[in-house]
């Protein structure tokens, strides 16, 4: 197993190189300039030029990329152009809300998807299945921003049960923290639950038709035991794949949800940085998001082996 993990880690190096070079090229090919964006209403060309020189933005692109790489190899992601603080600090501030939101959204989706997916498969084409598939269709079709606004309107404005926007760290104030993350977690969790429900249902239906399930039933095992021991476990692989991929998206890609709920997460950080043409910040965050995806995939692969020993 250790060897597999090591091999996979080594294979990520070219991936990361490609990602950073691609992002670097795209960013610099996009029109716009960080200094102009920062000082939109100032006409002082000499100040802008001296700032550009100070930041090394006047050098040829390959030189800039090489300099960035050289610093990266020393573990330095550089500083944000806009606020002058190290990229690591910028990300550090933003990663905590993102991880907490991802964890809560994941929990919400699992709490919904597992019962619903299992019941849908076992009671196929009957009332519970209809409810399950209808919910899944709704969750997949509903755009995030619309669901978010509807939830805000219902729970924030009308009922006033939950705060509308903003972030409190649950590690500092558990109750307020969970309340501040509740609506965004439901927004993201519902969509994810819909995908997971459908995946689990179809995967279980496939497994239910397997010979060994018939054998298990023939042995006289109770239906509950058959479902739990023989069907569910074997149906988990596609579900874990979906969850692994979605976890990466939840951490780095929850832009709209973060935007609507004014959550200071990584997704908004990178989008704002793109608009500001804050090159080092975009590069740093994209690199870290790519790493997060790689780690998630690695964890998924390891889980495969745990779920299904044949894969090891």
């Amino acid at each position: 197993m250790a060897q597999v993990v090591l091999k996979r880690l080594l294979a990520t190096i070219p991936v990361l190189l490609l990602v950073t070079a691609g992002v670097f090229a795209l960013l610099h090919l996009t029109p716009g300039d960080p200094i102009d964006a920062m000082m939109a209403e100032s006409v002082d060309a000499t100040v802008k030029e001296s700032l550009r020189r100070e930041l090394g933005l006047d050098r040829p692109l390959p030189v800039q990329y090489a300099a960035w790489m050289a610093r990266l190899l020393r573990g330095d992601l550089g500083r944000s152009i806009r606020n002058g603080e190290p990229v690591v600090d910028n990300v550090g501030r933003r990663i905590r809300p993102s991880l907490q939101l991802a964890a809560m959204a994941m929990t919400v989706s699992l709490l919904i998807a597992f019962p619903l997916g299992i019941v849908s498969a076992v009671r196929r084409n009957r009332a519970p299945d209809r409810v399950g598939t209808t919910f899944a269709l709704f969750g997949i079709c509903m755009p995030n921003f619309l669901l978010a606004l509807l939830l805000i309107f219902l729970f924030g404005v009308t009922l006033r049960w939950l705060p509308i926007s903003g972030y409190t760290d649950p590690l500092e104030d558990l109750v307020d923290g969970l309340r501040s993350l509740a609506l965004p977690a439901i927004t993201l969790g519902l969509a994810l639950a819909a995908v997971v429900t459908r995946t689990l249902r179809s995967s279980m239906l496939e497994t239910l038709a397997e010979d060994y399930v018939r054998t298990a039933r023939a042995k006289g095992l109770s239906e509950a035991r058959v479902v739990r021991r023989h069907v569910l476990r074997n149906a988990l692989i596609p579900v874990v794949t979906v969850l692994g991929l979605q976890l990466g998206t939840l951490v780095g890609g929850a832009v709209i949800t973060e935007y609507v709920f004014a959550l200071p997460g990584v997704g908004r950080l990178v989008v704002d940085a793109v608009f500001a043409r804050d090159y080092p910040l975009v590069q740093g965050v994209v690199l870290l998001i790519a790493l997060a995806f790689i780690v998630c995939n690695l964890v998924v692969d390891v889980l495969y082996g745990w779920i299904d020993p044949r894969i090891r």
Binding site: T30, P31, G32, D33, P34, D36, A37, M38, M39, A40, E41, S42, V43, D44, A45, T46, V47, K48, S50, L51, E54, R82, N83, G84, E85, R93, R94, L149, I152, F153, G156, V157, R160, P163, I164, S165, G166, Y167, Y259, V260, F261, A262, P264, R268, F275, A276, R277
Partner: protein, 513 residues
Amino acid sequence: MISRMSRRGFLQLCAAASALHPSLARAQAPRKGGTLRVGFYIEAATMDPHLSGSKIDRQIYHNIYEPLVTLDVKLGIKPGLAESWQQPDPKTLVFKLRQGVKFHDGTDFTAEAAKFNFVRMKTETKSVRKGELANVDSVDVVDPFTLRLNLKKPDAALLATLTDRAGMMVSPKVVQERGGELERNARGAGTGPFEFVEWVKDDHILLKRNDGYWSRQGGPYLDRVRYRPIPDDTVKLQSLQAGEIDVMDYVQPRDVAAVKADKNVVVLDVPSLADFAYQLNHTRPPFSVKALRQAVAYGLDLEQIVKGVWLNVGVPANGPIPPTSWAYDKSIPFIKRDLARAKAKLGEAGKPGGFSFTMTTNNLPINVQEAEVMQAQLAEAGISMKIKLVDGATLISEGNAKSFEMISYQWSGRPDPDGNVYQFFKTSPGTSLNWSGISNAQLDALLDRTREVSSPAERKKLYSEVTKILQDELPMVFIVHPIEPKAFSPRVQGYEAIPDGMMRFKDVWLRSS
């Protein structure tokens, strides 16, 4: 007022806004205490007024820092940290400074401190104030409370410039001891009615009352002011309606009608200094031809745009100077739509069948709507306009590079007309806000005159002449002077609306609900 607004109506509105809003100034004794929660659309960039290039920063500065002179509700200039000022000759400005003012760190505000600030703004590498103070040659301390600015040439707009960041005084001790940190932490740095407490990035900025504030009149009353960025307009509005915030900086035109119907929200129409316009590139075809610029101007129906796109949250613009300004000439009408004239101009330019061009604009809902309406209007004149949507950074780079034909330009405005005019239309090689590339000797001479004469009446005449030339030469097509409505919880009392849009909370207090 929502349904239809004439220029007269707008001017009346300006007058009404200059008085306190009725529901914001009930006859009740101000009460100390409470936290005012303010919602903003983005996060601040820096706490150092000398390094700031972003509008949102100024909102916070006007409560922490104080400029030498400040604006009154009619954009007149009144004493700030300077009690009075004199201009013994056009190239000298002498300020008598207020005594007994202390920075939040306990040090005294003196002429030495003021000089330190001017020197810093003019020499610090990262200073963004150099352009604004370009005409200041040197600064002398005459006595501990008298400061003299020696100018390179007469600059009638300088005093108005000193009502904002370029006139804001920062504690020299704070700069010397923790200069680099000032961008993130302004503790002790200002003299204003509120002191900086903390800035939790992406979350909030907290200020507290300065109990040692030098003025004994009025506030500060509030215990604390807490600023929060809420990027989504709809959510920000809902936060106000639900009582999570007490103030929001700007209500989108599309929301104004609904918010005015809501009893839990008080809306204040604040006429702004801004103009929304389009620059036409004089340096390349098609708009190097004057008749084609005129054809576009005659093809547009500003009234329809202001009504349909801006929902009358603004007035059609006759030029760069907003109706809030003393220099605004209401006798000059905005350019009316005249399709026959537009077609005649096309013929004059040798394009009787029309022509086509590309317009570059910001990819924001209101810009896109405006572009679509313009496209339809110009089509009726036989002009085909292609729309190119870009993000803010691209827009600026295309403007600076003059790689556009027509480009949208949104200027937040400056209290002195100079800030809305000079840098846009004065011949200037290299990078400047003169994206259109206009270079007109008569205009240049007039623009220089506006800085040299000091009598407002005479300057106003000059600006009227400038406006007329601009309507003929058309470096820019001006569309609208927007109103920037702000919304409050009914608890908020005592807010005074200054047309620069900055929210000063010194005299604001919270009614017990």
